[in-house]
Symmetry: C2
Subunit: 219 residues, 2 copies
């Protein structure tokens, strides 16, 4: 089985390292796929080093598409979009990785989710927004923000290798979380939205261009 994850500058590293942690425990080496072999820094400065390039990657069984601020630069990048558009048995998008999949045309007519702050953009890619943490539609698994990639990867491990294997992985990584806080207050939510309003606007603009490109009308 060949599993590969796209990495790029200003990726959100947990969108990638969450599924990497889970899926590498299937006993496969997860390919870290860059445009070239140059190490990239994630949004917070973590250095991630590709093990292969998109051009040299083997045919994949699972393509992982992480998100992050750098996602914005990719949604109008034909090399990346044509790579993502290739048929593969499974696509797993995490967080705003869904917007890359959308720009590649993968979301048209499909049920999908993404990070809460980009959720309103899904219709521009022709997707049917579903406000769940993990959404499966055919061979497309989309997950909500950042940490949701862990939940999705565990679900995918179960689909690929059986529930007993996925349960073993969940146990190994002791995934019985206790988030210290409940749902965010309106005040916290407003502050969080405000902190990323620049990229939210930029994402809307690229989503509108994608919609125009695919002939999608958003009410």
């Amino acid at each position: 089985m060949e599993i590969g994850a796209l990495v790029y500058p200003n990726i959100d590293q947990m969108d990638f390292t969450g599924p990497f942690e889970v899926l590498s425990r299937l006993g496969v080496r997860v390919h870290v796929m860059g445009r070239d072999m140059t190490p990239v820094r994630d949004m917070a400065g973590l250095i991630l080093t590709p093990t292969t390039t998109l051009a040299a990657a083997p045919p994949l069984d699972v393509l992982i598409v992480p998100g992050g601020r750098g996602q914005l630069a990719l949604v109008e990048d034909d090399q990346v979009l044509s790579f993502v558009a290739r048929p593969v048995p499974w696509v797993l998008s995490v967080c705003t990785g869904a917007l890359i999949c959308g720009a590649a045309g993968l979301l048209r007519g499909r049920r999908a989710t993404t990070h809460w702050n980009s959720f309103h953009l899904l219709p521009y890619f022709g997707a049917i927004p579903v406000d769940e943490r993990v959404v499966i539609d055919g061979n497309l698994m989309t997950t909500a923000g950042v940490s949701a990639g862990i939940d999705g990867a565990l679900r995918l491990a179960g689909l690929l290798c059986g529930e007993a294997v996925a349960q073993r992985i969940q146990l190994e990584i002791q995934y019985a979380p206790e988030p210290p806080f409940g749902p965010a207050s309106e005040e916290i939510l407003k502050a969080a939205r405000s902190a990323v309003s620049d990229i939210t606007t930029a994402r809307l603009q690229t989503a509108q261009r994608a919609a125009a490109r695919w002939g999608i009308k958003v009410a």
Copy 2:
């Protein structure tokens, strides 16, 4: 504020990337501290690149000590142990990182936890085992296996910068997990233990030597 995480060969990357994700969102650059600047591979082959060496690291406010199979090589490594033993305002251990802290003498007389498969080793380091996901005793925060580092880092973010900041981070990373499976069955647990029985035995041996070194008697 200076935050640094120890990285080493055969680390379990999520023990590190979980807290990195959370604590970097405090607006600080998290130092990735290697014995030297050579990139290391985690247990599953992920390449992690240090941004500083232990020798060159600034005085830290938070020291993150991740675990993983490679932890075993560190618990009798005087350079690493003396680094970990330095007084810092906060120590956050994740998973079997607690065993490194233990070998450095940090667990003596302290309430602590670690990955479930190493939990029985805590008394060898003079710790008072507490079967919780996050355990705080003074300036020492120990967390359970792998993904528990996320929970711990969120708690620590709250202690360092206030609950509103930590709530904002929990929202940003959409940490409202839905683990697909409940508690593991006896059969799954037995298989998971069996799969790592070699390192479990080796860890016991180093724990016994640490106990002898610190003059700790285990009933």
